[in-house]
């Protein structure tokens, strides 16, 4: 699919619910939400809690620290814009606050990544200077 003409790499379409997440990213912060009923943290951005459907979950700044839960190394890019990144690591990160999120692991030899490895937040800058939360070895 690398001949699919998605170039450059996409930036998000922001809506009211995801705006605090992306605004946080531009400040260099990873924002997560917490359910007001159960007290559990979660990603991704929603206007209600997935645990008890309570409205208006609270936003908070995450520590930006986590652990590699699972990963793979991608050799064939999903879109042309990702070709230069190959091979790259695609991983599920378990944040220290509890929730899991999908991310790439940057700034390391892809072969050096292991399940259980500690990682920390970093940012990838895309077109127009837009920052995307990513992770790198801690």
């Amino acid at each position: 699919m690398s001949n699919v003409p998605v170039n450059p790499k996409p930036v998000p379409e922001i809506n009211a619910h995801s705006k605090p997440y992306w605004d946080g990213a531009q400040r260099g912060e990873l924002m997560i939400q917490r359910c007001r009923g159960t007290g559990k943290a979660f990603t991704y951005a929603r206007c209600w809690s997935p645990y008890d459907f309570s409205p208006d979950p609270a936003w908070e700044k995450a520590s930006g620290r986590g652990t590699v839960f699972s990963y793979t190394i991608v050799y064939q890019p999903p879109y042309a814009a990702f070709k230069a990144d190959c091979p790259f690591v695609m991983a599920i990160i378990q944040l220290d606050e509890g929730p899991q999120m999908m991310s790439n692991i940057l700034h390391c030899d892809p072969e050096s990544v292991r399940i259980g490895m500690k990682v920390k937040l970093c940012f990838e800058t895309r077109s127009g200077g837009f920052k995307i939360p990513q992770f790198e070895p801690a």
Partner: protein, 401 residues
Amino acid sequence: MSSGIRDKVAILGMGCSRFGERWDMGAEELMVESFTEALGDAGIDRKQIQAAWLGSCMDEVNVGKSALPASIALRLNNIPVTRVENYCATGTEAFRGAVYAVASGACDIALAIGVEKLKDTGYGGLPGLDGGSLPPLWWPNLSAPGVFAQVASAYMSRYKVPRDVLKRALAEISAKSHANGAKNPKAHLRNPVSCDTIMASPMIAEPLGLFDCCGVSDGSAAAIVTTPEIAKSLGKHPDQMVTVKALQLALSNGSEGGYNDWDGSYIHTTRVAAQRAYAEAGIKKPRDEISMFEVHDCFSITELVTMEDLALSSDGGAIKDVMDGFYSADGKIPCQIDGGLKCFGHPIGASGIRMVYEMYLQLLGRAGERQLKNPRYGLTHNLGGFPHQNVVGISIVGRYQ
């Protein structure tokens, strides 16, 4: 209290087009190819069909959004025709519509037809399924092989399996499907491939190489269903009748993706749908009672974990079963006897019905060179979406008596 679908619906006839690169045909012609075979097999006139379900997934490069292409291409008699789409489980969804319509008594004879024309896209994978509540930037740089490859990593981690051991088992899975597909005249890929070749193929997403991934195809498959009583009145002998024993669908509720209830090494919805299907069919020991099955082998690792998710292998035991030949053509429970998605091919909307087609042929002793001995129950497993967010359709079919 519902009594389930068991033995309420009989398959009157089935058809399947040749799968592959069908530059000679559009989606409409592919539908006619499978429909004509199904109609001939059923021995009825098309005017006896009272309702139809069309399954197609990638409408942007396919037949369009409504069910009109099926109604017009098949010259259906102004009957209700509904188009359904549920990712790669679309075929099973179309089958489910027709089966439920007959079971409810709302109509006597119904048609399910699935079709997909994918080679026209000009590339190997599927067009993007972005949008809705699945925004791609929450999953940076995701690729379909990548997201399934993560299951392999999680599986190795959970069961402490060395990479070369897993890689070898995955190669056996693909080699088996290639050997089976070579015996299927309708299959897209009909070339036996050795494990050495498979393991030496270019890496797509670690540890999945080229031969661990299924391709996409053009093709169509169709089923005509009715009640066992009507099938008898139309001349089908009860000994030569295949009925639906179970038909289940399970969709993710989001828990796998974000709430930490899932370790990434299996497909949760397959486990849920399988247990419901076994209960519906009255099957207590699937490893002893299921004779053959078709799984959604979009990637070799998907097939491996599905064997455990279906409770045919014990948790962590699928590698041993694969290496023992338990799922080979001459094994205890042959898997992908028609070549599977890997070699029969994967025209999305048709795949779920294609799986039932093979089980149907096998149950009636019509599978030619790949015929198995006296199969009793055949199971199909159709997976749409990603390991952490998906649609799983499972059917069990068997002889009526």
